[in-house]
């Protein structure tokens, strides 16, 4: 256990123009350990591992592997040396089968450069048996569950005989029931002699799984210590740099009138969207309703149906008493503030200026923006409004004309939140508003949510983070296969119960392929 396998020495990395992702980071990993790398989003954990893996190029520092200086310029070299990495966003090809995905890059070759299908498939099958992964080699990756895909990623590395496995936030896509199964597999791998580096920001799982923990904050290493000597509070303090509370901060409050009423919403399968079946939700003023569910069980479709991006086949939708079932998006936007899950795709234009992003929707709904009878746009008003967003939502930014993607993720989200909440609508729709933000920004968003609740707005909050839902939501609605599987009062339920419904109310977690 004591011999150092990988030694990262004084690593620095800058993302232009001025983001210092890693500042003089030194960590060592021992052979045969499970080593957790924890820190907030943006602390530099993934970047550090990408540097080790040859995906990012460091600007300074050395990497020592098995006692010799190494410099992996590509993942291929890292893999050849025995280091493999499973990324946060899964890097698999849904159109390919499990075995095709596994062998890609190291395919056994037959005559005329053909892929030796028989040898490849058998090799993959043998590995599946060896590590007792419950997988079907011929299943299409697009058809199998998320947990199974993760296994395919791990299998892909084991097939290349790596001895070091780096896993970037592997539990973020799993349900509470699926996590123990993964942990069992990882411990089995360690016992067979593999070294596992495990990136996470979930403190409970870090403590239960790992042998040692390294905490990172803002591109620097805070500490490395044996996990047996740590408590969750210690870790959180080191991660954030101050005390963090893990309790609900909702004050008791009676909900008011119904604001959003969605009754029996159904939609059919269109272009990458699964169907909704008879979804009914009511959100009252002064209430936050949380929506939980494994990704892809209709939450996104519900959001799209409410905002008017996908057509309903049946059902009725009203906000503040106004029927918007057939209204166009603009009409809905005068009633609904909407913070989408993907800032880059739905919430903003990265290439445009901060100002141009801030005034969207206002430029139509607020008459003070128009000049010459709506033909022109008042630049003075737009600037004043952007300054208002900056002040009211504490956005740290340069000039209003700077490009939106020059802002940090947290500040981008603040501009979007400012834009949407200043619409002063009765109903607020938030789809994963804290995804990808650092802890400081997450706390800010939570405060904002609770403030909205105090000011008696109605909020529908879709989130993949159960902690978040338990912290701010009055009720938690669980979605499964496009239906409402359960509607639970937060104070009368538990994470286990929510997890149970997230898997469709099945007794145990099934991580095997669905084929």
């Amino acid at each position: 256990m004591s011999d150092v396998l990988i030694d990262l020495q004084h690593i620095s990395k800058v993302f232009p123009p001025d983001t210092v992702a890693l500042a003089d980071v030194s960590v060592s990993f021992k052979a045969g350990e499970i080593h957790a790398l924890v820190g907030e989003n943006g602390a530099g954990k993934s970047t550090l591992m990408n540097v080790l893996y040859g995906l990012e190029h460091r600007d300074a520092g050395d990497i020592v592997f098995k006692g010799a200086k190494v410099d992996f310029r590509t993942p291929r070299e890292a893999i050849a040396a025995g280091i493999g990495m499973v990324h946060q966003e899964m890097l698999l090809i849904p159109e390919y089968t499990v075995w095709q995905n596994v062998v890609l890059g190291t395919e056994p070759v037959g005559m005329f450069g053909t892929v030796d299908v028989h040898r490849a498939r058998e090799g993959v099958r043998r590995k599946i048996e060896e590590f007792q992964f419950n997988l079907e080699a011929d299943a299409l990756v697009g058809d199998i569950s998320v947990a199974a895909r993760q296994k395919v990623e791990i299998l892909k590395l084991l097939y290349r005989n790596v001895s070091v496995l780096v896993l970037d936030e592997p539990t973020s896509v799993l349900t509470p029931q699926e996590i123990p199964q993964l942990f069992g597999e990882l411990q089995r791998l360690r016992d067979k002699g593999h070294t596992i580096i495990f990136i996470s920001h979930r403190l409970d799982e870090v403590l239960s799984l790992s042998d040692r923990v390294t905490v990172m904050r803002r591109g620097k290493v805070v500490s490395t210590s044996a996990s047996s000597s740590l408590t969750k509070q210690d870790l959180a303090r080191q991660m954030v740099g101050r005390e963090v509370l893990f309790t609900s901060r909702r004050s008791p409050q009676e909900p008011g009138d119904v604001v959003l009423s969605a009754h029996g919403l159904s939609s059919s399968t269109v272009e990458h969207h699964s169907a909704l079946h008879d979804v009914t939700v009511e959100v009252h003023s002064g209430e936050i309703i949380g929506v939980a569910g494994v990704e892809g069980n209709g939450q996104f479709e519900l959001v799209n149906a409410i905002i008017g991006l996908i057509p309903l086949t049946s059902g009725r939708l009203t906000v503040g008493g106004r029927d918007i079932t057939h209204a166009d998006i603009l009409a809905r936007r005068s009633l609904i503030a909407f913070v989408p899950q993907d800032r880059g795709k739905m919430g903003a234009s990265g290439a445009a200026s901060i100002l141009e992003n801030a005034i969207m929707t206002h430029h139509i709904l607020d008459p003070s923006f128009s000049i010459a009878g709506g033909l022109g746009l008042s630049h003075r008003r737009a600037t004043a409004f952007t300054e208002q967003v900056r002040k009211q939502f504490a956005v740290s930014m340069g000039r209003v004309g700077d490009s939106f993607h020059s802002l940090s993720g947290g500040n981008q989200q603040k501009v979007i939140l400012g834009r949407e909440l200043l619409l002063e609508t009765p109903f607020v729709l938030m789809d994963q508003p804290t995804r990808g933000l650092d802890v400081g920004s997450i706390e800010y968003v939570h405060e904002l949510l609770l403030d909205l609740r105090r000011r008696r707005r109605a909020v529908l909050l879709i989130s993949a983070d159960l902690d978040e839902l338990f912290m701010v939501a009055d009720r938690i609605m669980v979605m499964w296969q496009g239906r409402v599987a359960a509607d639970l009062a937060t104070d009368a339920t538990s994470r286990e119960e929510v997890g149970y419904y997230m898997l469709g109310g099945r007794e145990t977690a099934h991580a095997e392929t669905s084929s």
Binding site: P17, P340, K345, T361, H363, I364, L375, G376, L377
Partner: protein, 346 residues
Amino acid sequence: MRKQALSGILGVLAALLIGALVLLLQGFNPVVTYAALLQYSLFSTSGFAATLTRSVPLVLTGLSASIAFASGPANLGQPGQLIMGALGATLVGLFVRLPTGLLVPLCILASLAGGALWSGFAALLKRVFAMDEFIVTLMLNFVADYFALWVITYPLFDTSASSPMTRPISMAAWLPDVGGVNASVLVMVLATFICWLLMSWGRSGYEWRMTGQNALFARIGGCKVDANYVRVMLITGALAGLAGGLMIMGGPHRFVKGLGANYAWDGIMIAVVANNGILATFLYGLLFSMLQQGAIGMELVTAVPSEFIDVLQAIIVLVVVAGRVSLNMVFDKLATRRKLREESKE
């Protein structure tokens, strides 16, 4: 903005250098060649006037492509729309009898309508059948080309001519020269100003730009993305049509075989180097016009084939566009080094 101007100037200079190298390899004297080019395009009164007149279709088709690309639609149909616009102006100029004050505006309207008709057809196919305008506008270019050829070969053929062309349009529709410069230049400058106003000050311009950058964002923000699409197609088609109309009214005063062929892709090329900016499109339009006008003088003086300019233009496009990306990478590298030095000082 300043960065773009820098990369543009550097790019054009680099391209001219590469061009000089090509000339040297062919055994020509690049200094004499470039001097002749400038002499015949800028430093002679008639040459300068000709450069300005030639820039009219270049700038207008460039604006058409710039506005289209900035707003989303991949309208590659400027050549076809130009032809249809020219045909519209020709028809009115041939068959309508009105005084100049009325006929000129009417011809201009007809050219706008001709171009908009052709792009509108592509927009219609997109809206109704979801047919990609990228391929549709391209194919319609060829259709317009052959259609115009048929029109001037059969129904409107000038029987006294040896090659396909129409009779001259009514004198009342001719655009006069104002101080040596054709009035079509004034129309072009006015159109550029309106485009600039529309894109940087207008509400539609804001919505179009946002749609072009991220259509889903604009749609969720309440912009009428579909209606805007049709508007952009119609306006950009009209701009290309205007280019064709002005070419008839200011130039040969009749539809001659091969009209617009030389300008086929120039508009798109100019929009590409200008990165879809209105002002940049105007300036590059003038630059390319200068090159094309100077090419004639260059061939007279130095025996370098005028087609050399076609090569030079393509080199400018490649170098400027690639330079824009590479220059950003250089800036990034410099920023990284500066930041690291700051870090180590701490």
